[in-house]
Every structure is written in structure tokens, then in C-alpha cells.
Symmetry: C2
Subunit: 116 residues, 2 copies
């Protein structure tokens, strides 16, 4: 079974930054997501998973793109998963990763600038 | 005069994550922006500036929202400014900060999830 992650940040958060100030709780939640993306390897993993055929990818699809060891890639996948940006589901030998489109959509909406 | 910041990340970057994988250079540039936002105080500063009347705010408008010293707030504003997320322009006594809407718009567009 895929690990279930809290959806509070998705359900509760937030108006666009440019519409009203974030409160402390919202800023704390969002900063965790941005921290997970504040690394080039994790951003590339996220984009490889998000753009992969069928919307999911296993480690076997991801390692060739990097000059990194398996454990290092697994560490970064774990950070992405714990942040709530991706889910992982074991099927047979492999864990298959998917992005959570509702989390990306929410982050995208938060960053929309003010209408000029 | 406001400090001019490189626009490379805005001009060159990127298709939505879910459309095609980021290359190393794009991921490196974007990760710097996400790193600047990977802190709750900086996220709140960004949202206070972005949502402030007239789209700009000086330190005098920002300090009351935080239980932090002036130098700490100045440090976070410097990180936001050096990342390219905001600009600062000195007029008389104060530096006035604005978000760069083109940078927010680009980040927002990068995070748009795939169409289902």
C-alpha cells in the first residue's frame, strides 16, 4: 500500500502570495515543500517522474540520468516522498513513484503573481 | 538605482516539470530560487511584499509582523534579493522592495501539473 501522507497543506493552503500574506503555519508548511525542491538532483528526479510515460517511474527508470550511487538516489526519493511531493508504491521488485498533481497545482497557484 | 539581476533563469527556464525533464543547468538555477523560499520567514516576507498596497514595501512595513531583530530581517531580505525573487530600490531613508512578478510567474508555470 502506498504510504498515506497528510493532505493538510493541500487542503488548507493558500491564497496566492500576492493576494494576502501567508500566516506562520502556512509559511511553515509551504517552506517544507520548497526545501524538498531546493536541490538540483531532487528537482530533476521530480521532473523525470512527472514527465515519465504513464506518470510514474521506478528507480530503474531514474538512475541512468545521474552519475550518483543508488543509495544517494534513494535518499533523495525518500526526501521527496516524506515532503508529500511524490508517492511510492511497491509492486513486485520495484517501488513506483508518482508526483502528487494536487500538491504541484497548489504550489503553482500560490506563486501566481498579482494581476497587473 | 535598483540592482540589476540576471534574468537567465526567467528567459531560459523551463517547460513545466510534467512535460519534460529539467536538464542539469535548469535544475541548478531553479533550485536556487526554491532554496530562497525554503524558509518560513522568507516566504512570509515574500508574501507581505507581494501583497502590500502598491506592490512594494519597505523594511518599516515588514518588521512588525515578526518577532525578529532588524538585522535578521535584513539578512532574509538580502537572500531573497540575491536570489532574484525581489528587487530593492533605495529612495530617501528606506529601501523599497518589490517582487519580480516574471520570476513568480515562471516558477508557477514550471510547477503546473500535467493535464489529466
Amino acid at each position: 500500500m502506498p504510504k498515506q501522507l497528510p493532505l493538510a497543506v493541500v487542503d488548507a493552503c493558500c491564497s496566492p502570495l500576492a493576494r494576502e500574506p501567508l500566516n506562520q503555519e502556512q509559511a511553515a508548511e509551504l517552506s517544507k515543500l520548497f526545501k524538498a525542491m531546493a536541490d538540483p538532483v531532487r528537482l530533476r528526479l521530480l521532473s523525470l517522474i512527472a514527465s515519465h510515460s504513464g506518470g510514474e517511474a521506478c528507480v530503474c527508470d531514474l538512475t541512468d540520468a545521474f552519475d550518483l550511487t543508488g543509495p544517494t538516489i534513494s535518499h533523495h526519493l525518500k526526501v521527496l516522498r516524506e515532503s508529500g511531493l511524490i508517492t511510492g508504491e511497491r509492486r513486485g521488485t520495484w517501488v513506483y513513484y508518482r508526483v502528487r498533481p494536487e500538491v504541484l497545482a497548489r504550489l503553482s497557484a500560490v506563486l501566481v503573481p498579482a494581476m497587473s
